[in-house]
């Protein structure tokens, strides 16, 4: 756990220094997107890695947050510092509702019901034209007023700072959750539901907690995205976003805090780098995803951990990092 904390701190410090060194707008944009995805992947990891259920409906919270921020700022004229937390809260409420329904199911049933919820929300966003403007989406989500006087680079720096702050909050909350009693209880439920119940852990409570926290974090990320791109459309609920998030979590290594971060970095860079290959880009991306599932089933962090364990040469006392490949199946 200590090494995780040190790595996270080091990463965040490095990220804090970056804008002072780099003044290239494109690189800053990529860095902002990396941090945005890192928040999303961290929040999804709380569900996939710590509750141990495979959610494909996380875009529901991202989209709720984005729409909440966009509507609050365009209709009610709220400033950005208020809309982003409000977006998180709206998503958390949505998480409570969806979680209360979905967390009773497991395995493939959970996968499909979460997917259904995000599809329902996408269709509502697409068809409830009076509020969401339908497929046109909500354009012109206002930027903070003082950005108008600054040049583009300063604007990027401003958004970089916000993204950094959001990521720091997300990582801090996730770290605190994972290392709290609640987080350990959630891991116990993930590893063996019945043993956990027999020692007095109520599975639903802890998985709810993780899901609502995850929903809150991805809601804030959605609110940030709405302001940064200044456009929100039904695409926010699309499966493509979900695919990106899930690949990040699994490539990085689920059930670790560094994993999603590594995954976000790697996948974003990969997508940018593969732009060179133009039309082949997505085909290659598909093949890479397949290769990672086959050859690195526990993600990069799983690979690193195994390597470290091997080097430590402690066959008697296996290091207890919560990286288990196969979820034990309940009978």
């Amino acid at each position: 756990m200590k090494i995780q904390r040190n790595c996270l701190t080091a990463f965040m410090l490095l990220a804090a220094v970056l804008p002072f060194v780099i003044s290239d707008q494109y690189i800053l944009h990529v860095a902002i997107i990396v941090m945005f995805y890192a928040v999303l992947a961290t929040s999804l990891n709380l569900v996939v890695g710590y509750v141990g259920e495979f959610s494909l409906g996380h875009t529901a919270f991202l989209g709720t947050g984005a729409y909440a921020a966009a509507l609050l700022s365009t209709q009610a004229g709220w400033p950005m510092w208020a809309t982003i937390p409000a977006a998180g809260l709206c998503a958390a409420v949505m998480g409570t509702i969806i979680g209360a329904i979905t967390l009773r199911l497991h395995g493939p049933f959970f996968v499909i019901i979460t997917l259904s919820f995000s599809e329902v929300l996408r269709l509502i966003a697409n068809n409830w034209v009076a509020v969401t403007k339908g497929p046109m989406g909500i354009a012109g989500v206002p930027q903070p007023a003082f950005l108008a006087q600054l040049d583009n680079l300063a604007g990027k720096h401003f958004y970089y700072a916000i993204a950094w702050l959001l990521l720091a909050i997300a990582l801090y909350l996730a770290y605190r959750f994972v290392n709290s009693n609640a987080g350990r209880a959630a891991v116990a439920v993930r590893e063996n539901r019945y043993v956990a119940q027999s020692i007095g852990i109520r599975p639903l409570n802890y998985s709810m907690m993780a899901l609502v926290l995850g929903a809150f974090l991805s809601g804030t990320a959605g609110g940030f995205y709405a302001h940064y791109i200044s456009f929100v459309g039904p695409e926010m609920f699309r499966f493509a976003f979900m695919v990106t998030m899930i690949t990040m979590v699994l490539i990085g290594g689920k059930g670790t805090l560094i994993g999603p971060l590594v995954g976000a970095l790697l996948v974003t860079f990969l997508e940018e780098y593969l732009r060179e290959a133009q039309e082949l880009r997505l085909s290659l991306f598909g093949l890479i995803v397949i290769a990672i599932v086959l050859f690195m089933p526990n993600g990069i962090m799983g690979f690193v951990t195994r390597h470290r364990e091997k080097r430590a040469q402690q066959p008697a006392a296996p290091v207890s990092m919560p990286v288990t490949g196969t979820k034990r199946r309940s009978v």
């Binding site: 269709l123 082949l280 995803v289």
Partner: protein, 290 residues
């Protein structure tokens, strides 16, 4: 109310198409427990290949269908032996990610090869509409329904009446016991996946002759197929058919009487309600844990 018979007829026609496109997934998701997100893309590849065979190779419809079945069957077999084989018994997650990767690859490679334009497959039974009392149907649709029903019956007979089908059911009930009595389970798994792929691709080609085939259709087909499989119950053959008809009817009536824009939502609402109240599907009596 005058339009009601027409709506019901449309619903049943579309429902049988849904049932057919979900039939392959019933095998793969319901029996093999692989949450196959590439299902819609396999359907799409079937349609695109059917278009290629009929327009570029100049084959007639049925030879094209046969070619599609053979090629995609081999493809499905290879996918199982080389990809899914390696992640069997590891829970759902690797399978989901693997098939998502596969679907991204298939959709974008097809996009590179044939582009985004809708591809029209010539139906072997062109011709005008048929008037049956108050109902109007085109011949092409009736033909497609007939082929769908035939395919469903063949699949049913294969699963229920042949040695292969018996071996399949044994393998999915208890792989260990199946191995003990001498069933080559690896072949059975691959065969089931291939069979699911064949049905999906044939559905793609058949429905490509009614509507049109498009590279981007995969996601939608996968979603509808998931809806149908969940409605009917995992691995229930009759359930998939009834689920498909139910979805088709519900959509036709909803679209006719309530609002056309919201048609797609009804399937997902049905899924959510089904999973809440009858998580094992509407037609499966035995409560079996996932």
């Amino acid at each position: 109310m005058e339009l009601l018979p027409q709506f019901i007829a449309n619903g049943l026609v579309i429902g049988s198409f849904y049932a057919l496109s979900a039939l392959g997934l019933t095998l793969i998701l319901g029996m093999m427990r692989v949450v196959n997100f590439a299902h819609g893309e396999l359907y799409m590849v079937g349609g695109v290949m059917g278009w290629w065979a009929t327009t570029r190779l100049g084959l007639d419809f049925f030879s094209g269908l046969l070619l599609v079945a053979v090629v995609l069957g081999t493809f499905g077999w290879l996918i199982d032996r080389f990809l899914i084989e390696r992640i069997r018994d590891q829970g759902e997650e690797p399978g989901i990610l693997l098939t998502i990767g596969l679907s991204i690859f298939l959709a974008n490679t097809a996009l590179l090869l044939v582009g985004t334009a809708p591809l029209k497959i010539e139906s072997p039974l062109a011709g005008g509409p048929l008037f049956l009392g108050p109902i109007v149907l085109t011949k092409a649709r009736l033909f497609a329904v007939a082929v769908s029903i035939t395919l469903m019956i063949i699949t049913y007979l294969v699963i229920q009446k042949t040695r292969l089908g018996r071996a399949m059911r044994a393998t999915f009930q208890d792989p260990m016991a199946a191995k003990l009595v001498g069933i080559r389970t690896a072949n059975i798994y691959a065969g089931t996946f291939a069979m699911g792929t064949v049905i999906a691709s044939m559905a793609g080609m058949l429905l490509g002759s009614i509507y049109s085939t498009q590279v981007s259709i995969g996601g939608l087909v996968s979603m509808k197929a998931f809806v149908v499989v969940i409605l009917g119950g995992m691995g229930s053959f009759a359930g998939a058919i009834v689920g498909g008809l139910l979805l088709g009817l519900a959509e036709a009536l909803w679209g006719g009487y309530v609002a056309t824009g919201w048609v797609d939502i009804i399937g997902f609402i049905l899924v959510i309600l089904t999973l809440l109240f009858r998580p094992y599907g509407l037609f499966v009596k035995r409560a079996e844990r996932a």
